[in-house]
Symmetry: C2
């Protein structure tokens, strides 16, 4: 078998006869051959890598999602024939400095961005630089940008609320964040929609910042209002943890005397046996990697962003039988 | 300025006169030029990347450390003129399959490995493959392997125990994991050493698995034994969380009536205001990246592994004045 034959099999398979091609391919497979990433890069002018920025400082709540998402990206990359380069621009002067560095060093072809927020300068900057990207999280305030996937928080709260009614709790209250947060308002909408659709009137509600003492204090009065046999849907696992603590402080057993649900299925939700809503990070990572590769191949952006439904994880805090 | 002059400045700077070289370099700097990673790879036969495997499934406790460590690696990579490629071999048939894939695809030059354990096949496999690596965590049972850095758990518990005595708690008990875990036994040794060095006799101790209900039950009796005004040093944040819950169940205020400390400075330690011991992940990431680069340049392995001292983070659970 000549060197040229092997080279043709790899680069110009159409030049070989079928039996020759098959023979070469079987030997290649046997040897466990995979093309060199550096040689492929040179040929395609691509690095085969997608960059993902890890922020050094984040709330515990955020990190509970970003770590599983990073794992999911790394896992899904194989199927997209690429790899993930994580970067973190500690002490950067601007939110785009890390991206600038990665582009200059030609380490990645595209980016997945997370932690999108109102006024986020990264999408416009990347568009201008002509670098494909896709966002985990809506690009708030920029409806023209459609390269994103997000979790349907309203659907998550609808599922949690419906579950509480299905288990048989008499009343479903709500503990949310102070009004005006996009994510919080959307989750609250899910609680309202599910309650209304069930023909019930809205239960009592309260607000607390994402702080355990504040949540516990707010929950203490709230569980008094829903009463024994009632339940509280919460905008986050931390708020649900506050409800759990308030219940124990009253001597009520979570699940049996008062139900509660959180969101994000964080590590402490598992520890405390809190029912929660798990973000579909694997599906989202796969979708976003597909999206940037379509852009790299010259395809148009999608017609709209994509919302993915989270999955309810039932635990003892909303169902004493589990 | 000719193309050849610029090329010489980049590849053969010795061919140019000093003033010419300086002029070219200043223009290059002004343009923000950085050499292309792919072109450099071809020249050096290096990818400039270090691989780091992210396990899809891990205990919450583990993830609380691995995520900050991943961020630290990504941050420190810049200073080592390399980047970090994360990978995750979901559904792999063997613990080395993901490494094999990364080597075949020539995506990385070296690896940082974590989650080392007794009988870990990766070090021997990587040695045989001739691929440099450095480990976050001792390679238990293989004292001949020295390319590792780890946290000095005994020092962490010594610091926590000394802190409890310095604050003025009358007695210092201990809540640990069942005997026989390498990490747990080492942490317990720190508690014994600090207590003995202070001239006190050992306080009461108990064991619990890494489970919140088990920890809370074990702690309920233990805090009765140390009594009001005593304190409990714990082998983990989760065990300390159990002590906190047991204290509240008795109506005791954490910090004021009974003190407690954890280890790892996890997200819930912050939420619950638990004094804890923070792992020096940035220092360790920097050390390990330096280590693999020395090996890549042909240097010998270090004479011994390196232990880094964690830092005490004081919160209300061990000091009502904070």
């Amino acid at each position: 078998m000549s060197r040229q034959t092997v080279s043709n099999a790899l680069v110009h398979p159409e030049r070989l006869k079928a039996p020759t091609l098959e023979k070469v391919q079987s030997v290649i497979a046997e040897l466990g051959y995979r093309p060199s990433s550096a040689a492929q890069s040179l040929r395609s002018q691509r690095t085969g890598a997608v960059g993902f920025e890890l922020l050094a400082i984040g709330s515990a709540n955020r990190n509970e999602i970003i770590y599983p998402f990073t794992v999911a990206l790394s896992e899904m990359a194989i199927g997209h024939n690429c790899h993930v380069v994580t970067f973190s621009a500690a002490g950067a002067q601007s939110p785009t400095e890390g991206y600038e560095d990665m582009i200059r060093a030609q380490v990645v072809d595209a980016f997945i961005i997370a932690d999108t927020h109102k006024g986020d300068p990264r999408p416009a900057w990347l568009d201008k630089a002509g670098v494909p990207y896709a966002a985990f999280g809506r690009v708030w305030g920029r409806p023209d940008i459609t390269s994103w996937a997000d979790v349907d928080g309203a659907a998550g709260l609808r599922d949690a609320t419906n579950h509480l009614f299905a288990v048989g709790y008499a009343q479903g209250g709500y503990l949310g964040w102070p009004f005006g947060s996009s994510i919080g308002d959307e989750r609250r909408r899910g609680w309202i929609e599910a309650t209304t659709a069930s023909g019930r009137s809205l239960g009592p509600e309260a607000q607390a910042e994402q702080d355990l003492d504040a949540a516990t204090d707010a929950a203490y009065d709230l569980i008094e209002q829903v009463g024994r046999g009632g339940a509280i849907a919460c905008a986050s696992d931390l708020l649900a943890m506050g409800v759990e603590r308030a219940a124990r402080r009253r001597g009520w057993v979570p699940g049996r005397d008062v139900g509660m649900t959180g969101i994000d299925d964080s590590s402490y939700a598992g520890m405390l046996k809190l029912t929660s809503v798990s973000q579909p990070v694997t599906t989202i990572a796969d979708y976003l990697l597909g999206l940037v590769h379509k852009r790299l191949e010259g395809g148009p952006p999608p017609e709209s962003g994509a919302l993915f439904r989270p999955a309810l994880v039932t635990r003892a805090s909303s169902d004493p039988n589990t």
